[in-house]
Amino acid sequence: MTELLAAARATLVRHGGAGHGLRFGLLLVVVLVVAAVVLIQRQRRKDRTTMEVASPTAASGDGGPTVAVVGLGEPIPSGHYHFKDLLRSEWTKLRTVRSTAWTLLITVVLGLGISAVATAETRSHWASTPAFQHVGFDPTATSLIGIFVAQFAVGALGVLAMSSEYSTGTIRATFSAAPSRLRVLAAKLLVFGVLAVVFAEAVSFASFFLGQALLTSPATHATLSSPGALRAVVGAGLFVAALGLLAMGLATMMRFTAAALSAFVGILLIAPLIVQALPTSLSQDIRRFLPDRIGATILTTTGSNPFAFSPWVGLGVLALYVVGVNVVGAVLLVRRDA
């Protein structure tokens, strides 16, 4: 992460200061934010028109001897509550809190916005940079920097989807309605995981195409059939989604929002610094296991780092972390009092 950002900054510096490309990028960010806010507001207005107009005191001012309870009017069905009922419930939970819309919005804005800024900026100073500096230019990675930054938003969403149940006490209602904790956890992971993958992939592809479109001639640009490009775009989405699931696992383990968020950010930002402080021989060997290097390798299509796993192996290592953290979380979830 840090190293990739440094590379991006170097690219920008190499190609000169802020030009019309930066202005274009910022404009795009603003347009996207405005569009998203308008969409959210419109949805909310639509929700509000479905509101009923009954006085809340209608049932409260009851002075009679009993309050008749509306029966369900159907016998208890055969069978039992099913995993798909839990999936439906988890989806409702996820889409009915604002933090979901906000974090996804931030993902889009960062993903596309930073991508636009980085690529447009490169293009605008292409002609004024010496040719030898164009050699190592990685159009794919440059266009994917944004989605790579958006990992924090997706991670925050993963943490909150779990930790907010504890901080608000909703977890007691959840487990009262569905006492099978492992199934609830599985449903939560699956629903969030699918959302995260679909969304991160969409943003990843969108920022790739946007970035390449901005890298007009004479700047070099990539297509999906360029070596490593498709892998980088698909991999970036998977990488961010996997980090989201890792974050959710941390939240299951720790239950507190602040603790889980700190752990998540710590793994991505602090751990590399600590490892860097170790003797070089050791630090390079350890560094390859850290998610930030795994992510950087996935995005990169030019050259290769000898101190990194190859992209798919790296993704596999990350998947192991995700499984490990979530297994520990699941064991604690079952063992602990809710």
Partner: protein
């Protein structure tokens, strides 16, 4: 029907619930009474399978809640006030719960209507007053039309209107044949709502008794006597086997003799009586007496002042 057998919960060295056994029958409101920290909430969480008992078992309709096929349709619970995401609307909160047990969407509307939250159904629950939050919790408990219901201090923080509403609701639910278990640390509230009470202190069962029996037992518990010759009179009464307490206001509280006997002792002595009145300890005092040795946290003043019988 809720059956607890030897229910025990340790939190580290702390014994929160200690070998609790009781039955909660359908068709009546069963109160769950105990001073602060006596283990009521812990017991309710164990009934719902949220906290694992250290020992013992508790079942609803013969099964552990964790083994129920449609938990919401069999048992509902209001465990704590405001147990919902403040950013979620009342409708969304109920909807996500309803979906877990495949309850129809109209059920959510019905319950919002029942608890009087229809008009604010699409507002974020974080803005709700304490009373509205409590109503939302009650709606969640009733969602699956369950035969058994637990309410942990449901009237906490409610205004008199709200308290009356809850009281009527509980009685109505019991009248429909449901099993109703409702905790409180106020005997006065229970005497108006419950038919039967399970009384605990320090996590132990003190007794399970019908409210009527408790009232009858505590009636005419002592006689208040006022006399200028209080000293001589109390000596004479003690010789007759009475237990005497000299109250702050100078009156005597006489236990072990009824008013007639006290009057006769006074007559024999030739003592002047300014007052001779049988007193009934209130339910609150009966409760305090029962739990006296098991109160965990008490204030500085502990001696109950007697009140007139109604």
């Amino acid at each position: 029907m809720i059956e607890a057998r030897g229910l025990t919960k340790h939190y580290g060295a702390k014994v929160a619930v200690d070998g609790l056994s009781f039955d909660v029958r359908p068709g009546v409101v069963t109160g769950f009474l105990g001073p602060n920290g006596s283990g009521k909430s812990t017991t309710m969480r164990m009934i719902m399978g949220l906290d694992a008992p250290t020992r013992g078992t508790v079942t609803v309709n013969g099964r552990r809640v964790g083994d129920l096929r449609w938990p919401l349709r069999e048992v509902g619970a209001l465990l704590e006030a405001r147990a919902f995401h403040p950013g979620r609307t009342a409708r969304a909160h109920l909807t996500m719960l309803a979906q877990t047990n495949r309850l129809p969407t109209r059920r959510v509307d019905d319950l919002l209507e029942l608890v009087g939250l229809s008009a604010v159904a699409d507002q974020r629950a974080g803005k709700f007053s304490l009373g509205m939050g409590q109503r939302l919790g009650i709606a969640a408990a009733l969602l699956g039309d369950p035969g058994a219901l637990l309410f942990d201090e449901p009237v906490n923080g409610l205004d008199p209107d709200g308290i009356r509403w809850v009281r009527h609701l509980l009685r109505g639910l019991a009248a429909e044949g449901r099993t109703i278990f409702v905790s409180s640390h106020l005997m006065s509230e229970m005497s108006l709502t419950a038919d039967e009470v399970v009384i605990i202190g320090r996590g132990r069962l003190i007794e399970q008794v019908a409210i009527g029996d408790l009232l009858a037992r505590s009636a005419h518990q002592f006689v208040r006597v006022r006399s200028p010759q209080a000293g001589a009179l109390s000596d004479a009464l003690e010789r007759e086997g009475a237990a005497i307490v000299l109250e702050d206001d100078g009156s005597l509280s006489v236990r072990g003799l009824d008013a007639t006997a006290v009057g006769e002792v006074a007559a024999t002595l030739g003592a002047t009586l300014h007052e001779l009145s049988p007193q009934s300890a209130s339910l609150e005092e009966a409760f305090m007496e029962l739990t006296d040795s098991s109160v965990d946290y008490r204030g500085a003043t502990t001696s109950p002042t007697p009140t007139e019988a109604p």
